[in-house]
Amino acid sequence: MDRRRRLFAINRVSIVLAVAAILAGLTFDQWQIVLRNAILL
């Protein structure tokens, strides 16, 4: 049960970190960088 709870917690922390990274990237306009790079190919 402890192992399950630990995995569950790691999963939720991973999701929060991933969303935080996306938001941080968006504030640095990285969506535009990805788009421009992909369009210019």
Binding site: I10, I33, V34, N37
Partner: protein
């Protein structure tokens, strides 16, 4: 409670039966062309070359190299890759990746088959470290893209066929790319998903998420009879009862369908803890 469990298993079995359809639709959506002026700003959850004339989304590995080559932290791309990994682990490889699907189709060609152990699949991480991170950081060039067989298939060959300008630029590197693709085509026809198992850097990024992702497999070890039916149907040749969170597992659910004693279950994508 028992009814609920068998109902969930029936649901996942029905989902698994439609995997071929999902793979086909995914290949079409990822290469649907018309929305590319907007949607190419989103990294897709698969290895799909964005130099393909029809690609609608950005390749996460190509985008990652672009940031690394510019010595910028790829927060957005890593966030998207991390979110997909945390939610479904490597299920994207089994359900959405057009190149993974292509490998499964090539394996259906009737040839003598060669079964290889998954022991050396750490080579994926070497590809990630060397060709996606280290060399692009030093040379500022996306070296994985230059050699990627998925890119050759989806973009290199079609672009050369469509454009005389591209044809006029063909040099040694192009022939090396074609040679690599030909080698992988040969390997794919005899071994299951070799690129996914030993080379794919996107698989290397998602592998560590397999034990902690919301969508994962659970095996009832007491009920399992070790018949190896799961391995027989597995596109990456693993025995799921040995490690239900194996880094090689692509969550295709073929084992859930094939298990004669129904001891493999799917945990709830919402993070629930369903019993097999």
């Amino acid at each position: 409670m028992k009814d609920e469990q068998s109902g969930m298993r029936g649901f996942w079995e029905r989902v698994a039966r439609r995997r071929g359809l999902v793979q086909t639709l995914s290949a079409l959506v990822l290469n649907s062309y018309f929305t590319q002026r907007i949607t190419r700003g989103f990294p897709c959850p698969a290895l799909n070359c964005y130099a393909c004339p029809a690609a609608a989304f950005a390749c996460p590995i190509g985008s990652l190299q672009h940031f690394i080559g510019r010595h910028k932290l790829p927060l957005y791309v890593m966030g998207v890759v991390g979110l997909v990994g945390a939610l479904i682990g490597r299920a994207s490889c089994g359900w959405f990746c057009p190149f993974g699907w292509f490998q499964e189709l090539v394996y259906k060609i009737p040839t003598p088959k060669l079964r290889l152990p998954n022991r050396f699949n750490w080579t994926r991480t070497v590809t990630l470290g060397v060709l996606v991170v280290a060399i692009p950081y030093v040379t500022r060039e996306p070296w994985f893209c230059k050699l990627c067989p998925a890119g050759t298939l989806e973009a290199g060959i079609p672009m050369a066929l469509l454009s005389s300008d591209v044809r006029s630029m063909i040099g040694t590197l192009y022939w090396i790319k074609l040679g690599l693709l030909a080698a992988f085509l040969g390997w794919m026809s005899v071994t299951q998903r070799p690129f996914c198992r030993w080379v794919c850097p996107l698989g290397a990024l998602w592998s560590p998420f397999n034990p902690v992702s919301a969508f994962r497999l659970q095996v009832d070890q007491e009920r399992c009879i070790r018949c190896n039916q799961c391995q027989e149907v597995c596109p990456v040749d693993i025995r799921v009862y040995e490690n239900e969170s194996s880094s090689a597992c692509i969550r295709c659910l073929e084992c859930v369908r094939a298990c004669p004693v129904e001891c493999i279950a799917v945990s709830s994508p919402a993070g629930g803890q369903a019993e097999p």
